[in-house]
Point group: C2
Chain length 354, copies 2
């Protein structure tokens, strides 16, 4: 069966309407819609419009702010701190990104900490924007508890991702966007639904024993990449995003799905670098192209058809989906359809005729 | 057999003398000696005085500069670029660190790129100094080819480490210092020196087959942590340290051990953050202490006596070795002894009476 595909611009318009119906201003609704469709275009369904229903539920529950604006609470030299005032994560994130890019153009570097934010979509949304303006961006965010410390058995750290965007010239940009866990919790949920075993290096059970049973894994903890190294990376990200900014940290970061009493109070870090302070941008881009070609032209392992650059798969997926449309899994399609209907909107209107 | 232990101050004095005999100025010799003994104190023998013989060999071969000073070639706002002029890595690194700390105090953030440098010891040497001054430091460096890209079979990327130092109050500071490979190349060099086998998941041989033989691993490729994630991290570090600064990158970074025609041309990045721009340092330190205690007091896996913070093992080792002295493996002891003797110096003079 060929899945139904949806037009990305129609989806953006529709999602904007949904958020507006939920009481979000048109400008803010458009930003959040754009950030979610960005993820779907890149094939990251877990961070795409599949998150719209939970965002709306939290807005309606009064756990995400509709009106009060995020505030720049400190700006000195190349550093700034933004209080997200519990606004939608993408709205806060975009403000922080713009501040970081502005500072970078002024002082070479822009370092912006953010507190009192919410789930802000994929980090790549921000990295892609920086890339399109010819700047390098490093984005960090903390997240609700999911990983135990090395030697521990209870979740303490989030899957705290790190993303880096670096512009190239003719070649696709370098865009790394990775969780510090071996896998996403969503993949274990999927395995549980399908009744499939999971690899032994994904998670531990409640006693700290590696498990191939998804149900046990969901009661336990995700494992970080590289053992103690990934544990250290996730903690460094939590310390900068949480402790330095004044956001929540460790188990203090509230779950998007399971906590209905408190805002998430997520913290982010945006670090922008103005390449032109170091060398002319066209020269840097040319060097990037040469670097990428050198990597891709290297000898390959038997059975490997191509060496890929971080972000290359997603950038191809995006090109394909801009043209052919975005498919959803059936669950997500149903949920989105119901959400639209509740506001008198029709998901079908965004379909591409087959 | 109880190994002979050496007094760290005597070792620093002795190593300083060795470098002076090799034609390095007293001030520079002292820095390099200090950076190497720093690693030995923390139990990182692979990056300690075991590197002194190869440093000296490269100095004597004219592949490391003795006289010309590193130069600040750009400083604008919060960003700076240093040309190491092929000086000893620790000399260049320390200058870059000081520039980053100075800029951070002025503008909140200091971002310093470095080109034309050499192996600069452990990243933790710089992170420890930043911590002692109450600043956060992120250090990146590229390194000679050691890891194949995901899907490739020939080394392209170095084991490109990332280090982060974050000061605490009463508790030991957070000090993460990790290669992006499963293990550091230096550990395989040590295993080769000691004639020991290595775990099968550390590396592949020239044909892409996992190997337990360090000699085969050194001819093949190390494996990154977390598969494609570690590959992405190592590449981001290479792009910043190499492409952005104008240093060598990828296989263009020359080997410390195997290349006798060219300087290494290593690149580094130092990012310093002044905590006090965000919140008062004592409050941050107090929060760090609480965070660390919360992690350490969490429930533990059966058989785990203690949950550790990144850098905690090394900080304990340091306290122990400051008092009881530093032991060396026999190979390293022999090599150091010979090197000292060649300059009319006696390693035995640094021994602690048993």
């Amino acid at each position: 069966m060929i899945p139904t595909c949806y037009c990305w611009t129609s989806l953006e318009t529709l999602a904007t309407e949904v958020f507006k119906h939920a009481g979000v201003s048109a400008a803010k609704a458009k930003i959040v819609a754009e950030s979610l469709v960005h993820a779907d275009l890149r094939g990251i369904e877990s961070h795409g419009l599949s998150r719209m229903p939970i965002y709306v539920k939290r807005i309606e529950a009064g756990l995400i702010e509709r009106v009060v604006e995020p505030q720049l609470v400190m700006q000195e030299g190349a550093a700034a701190l933004i209080d997200g005032k519990n606004q939608l994560g993408a709205v806060v994130g975009l403000m922080a990104l713009e501040q970081a890019l502005k500072l970078a153009r002024q002082t070479g570097i822009g370092f912006v900490g953010v507190r009192h934010s919410n789930h802000f979509g994929t980090c790549s949304y921000y990295a892609e924007r920086a890339i399109s303006q010819g700047l390098i961006l490093l984005v960090l965010t903390n997240a609700p508890e999911a990983m135990a410390p090395s030697g521990g058995i209870r979740p303490f750290l989030g899957t705290n991702p790190i993303a880096v965007g670096i512009p190239a010239g003719q070649e696709p940009a370098f865009l790394l966007d990775m969780a510090t866990s071996v896998t996403a919790r969503g993949k274990i949920v999927m395995a549980a639904k399908k009744g499939e075993a999971i690899p032994a290096d994904w998670a531990i059970d409640q006693n700290g024993i590696p498990t191939t049973k998804p149900e046990q894994a969901l009661l336990g903890s995700l494992l970080p990449i590289g053992g103690a190294k990934g544990y250290g990376l996730a903690m460094f990200i939590d310390l900068l995003c949480g402790l330095l900014t004044g956001a929540a940290f460790g188990p203090g970061v509230k779950s998007l799905y399971d906590n209905w009493e408190h805002p998430q109070n997520i913290g982010h870090i945006f670090l922008a670098i103005d390449i032109q302070k170091f060398l002319p941008l066209p020269l840097f881009q040319q060097n990037m192209d040469e670097y990428i070609r050198q990597v891709k032209n290297g000898p390959k392992k038997e059975g490997t058809s191509e060496i890929l650059i971080p972000g290359e798969i997603e950038s191809r997926k995006r090109r394909e989906r801009l043209q052919k449309g975005i498919p959803f899994s059936l669950n997500v399609e149903d949920e989105l359809s119901q959400l639209c209907a509740a506001y008198g909107l029709d998901l079908k209107a965004a379909r591409i005729a087959p």
